[in-house]
């Protein structure tokens, strides 16, 4: 890619696409506006490439997040024509003839242009303790804790989450009930709950079994539709609802049991 920089970007362009980009410059304007850019694009360009072209060649003040360009880092999530997507994995050719409307991810307060404040998620993620909790800490010399392939398979799907926040942007509940822990955080809690090495399910239940935990979810299911890693957060939440209900019944039947 380094060689391409010297080349005229117009050289390989197969056409121009109109971008309608959400602009919010809080020091200047009370309300956001849409700014239109006519961008020459190449055949294999993603929406992110077009944004980078705007920033490099047309308006350097455009703010947005991106890093890896290969669907791994999860930072370039935006709303493209109303659908939350990774802009590095969305072909311009599939959105022809345009125009392409680019908004920040829904559900998060906008700091500037396409940059949302994800602090709320970071705080919620910590509350579900997304790490392995052992009943008793073993010394390092005790060695690794082996797992069978079947045990890995139990949580592998949920471990694929890249925290791209597309599921939060797709979730109308998160918009309407800002207290909701949300899809990715619950899926990640399940990733550890279902790990054979973990003993922290009861600690996590503290937060997950609350209303703003799994019970705010009404199973719209859109989080799983937009997930670029097929994590199926909606499925994780429903599984947890069943588990929490079973646990509640068990605690009814065995009164001596704590919790």
């Amino acid at each position: 890619m380094a060689n391409d920089k010297a080349k005229d970007p117009m050289e390989d362009a197969v056409g121009t696409i109109t971008l309608q980009v959400f602009r919010y410059r809080p020091e200047k304007e009370e309300e956001p506006v849409y700014e239109t850019f006519e961008v020459p694009y190449q055949e294999d360009w993603m929406v992110l490439d077009a944004l980078n072209h705007v920033k490099d060649q047309m308006d350097g003040s455009l703010s947005y997040r991106w890093s890896c360009r290969m669907g791994v880092c999860g930072s370039c999530g935006m709303s493209v024509n109303g659908e939350p997507v990774l802009t590095c994995a969305t072909y311009i050719e599939e959105l022809l003839p345009g125009p392409i409307r680019i908004d920040p991810l829904r559900g998060f307060p906008v700091i500037r242009d396409l940059v949302g404040d994800l602090g709320d998620f970071m705080e919620k993620l910590q509350r579900v303790k997304p790490w392995i909790i052992r009943a008793e800490e073993e010394p390092l010399e005790a060695g690794a804790i082996p797992q069978t392939p079947g045990q890995v398979e139990e949580y592998r799907q949920y471990s694929m989450c890249i925290n791209c926040m597309l599921c939060y942007a797709a979730c109308p509940i998160y918009e309407l009930e800002p207290g909701f822990i949300g899809p990715a955080a619950i899926a990640l809690a399940q990733r550890y709950n279902l790990d054979s090495r973990d003993d922290g399910a009861e600690e996590r239940m503290e937060i997950l079994s609350r209303k703003e935990g799994v019970w705010d979810c009404t199973l719209v299911g859109e989080c799983s539709v937009v997930c670029p890693k097929d994590v199926d957060p909606a499925g994780a939440i429903q599984r947890y609802k069943v588990a929490a209900t079973m646990d509640w019944f068990r605690s009814l039947l065995t009164p001596g049991r704590s919790g």
Binding site: P26, K28, R65, G82, V110, D113, E222, R239
Partner: protein
Amino acid sequence: MTSRKEGVSGGNGETSPPSPSAEAGTPEGTIPEEVHAMGDRGEPSAPENPHHTRYHPKWHREPIPITWWTRNRRYAAFILRELTSVLVLYAGVLLLVHLVALSRGPESHAAFQEWLGRPGVVVFHLLVLAGLLYHTVTWLNLAPRAIVPHIRGRRIPPRVVLLAHYLAWFALSAVLLAVLWPTLRG
């Protein structure tokens, strides 16, 4: 447009060419935009928007329209599934009314049947049936995602869970129909 300084924030994009008027010191150009960027914030300046300062950042929050569920077809399908749950309640109440009519004797039951046979009621109940079928099918199809049972450590395939739900639905409906059919024929 052209008076803004370059490279404010927003990831690690490559260096931008300097805009010709960035150094021009126009009234707009004197405002260091970095002040309002996400990361390191410099000394606060007098911004054009007095509501946005270094210590009082102004986030934009998009309002949620009451028509949010028209944004895409899947949201609408979800809302329809939720709304048709009212029809499930209605069907339950109808069944209770039917039982009460039965228990009150032949006259009461005959009146109930007469009501059931009215054309308007028949049309309405056909619509209710359509809603009930939509609700049931969309709901049962979600079951394998919520219920992931294990037998002797092995996960039961989602197809089996789905099939079990449909079989249970058909079996219960058949029982209900077998019990109620004689009373409906009069």
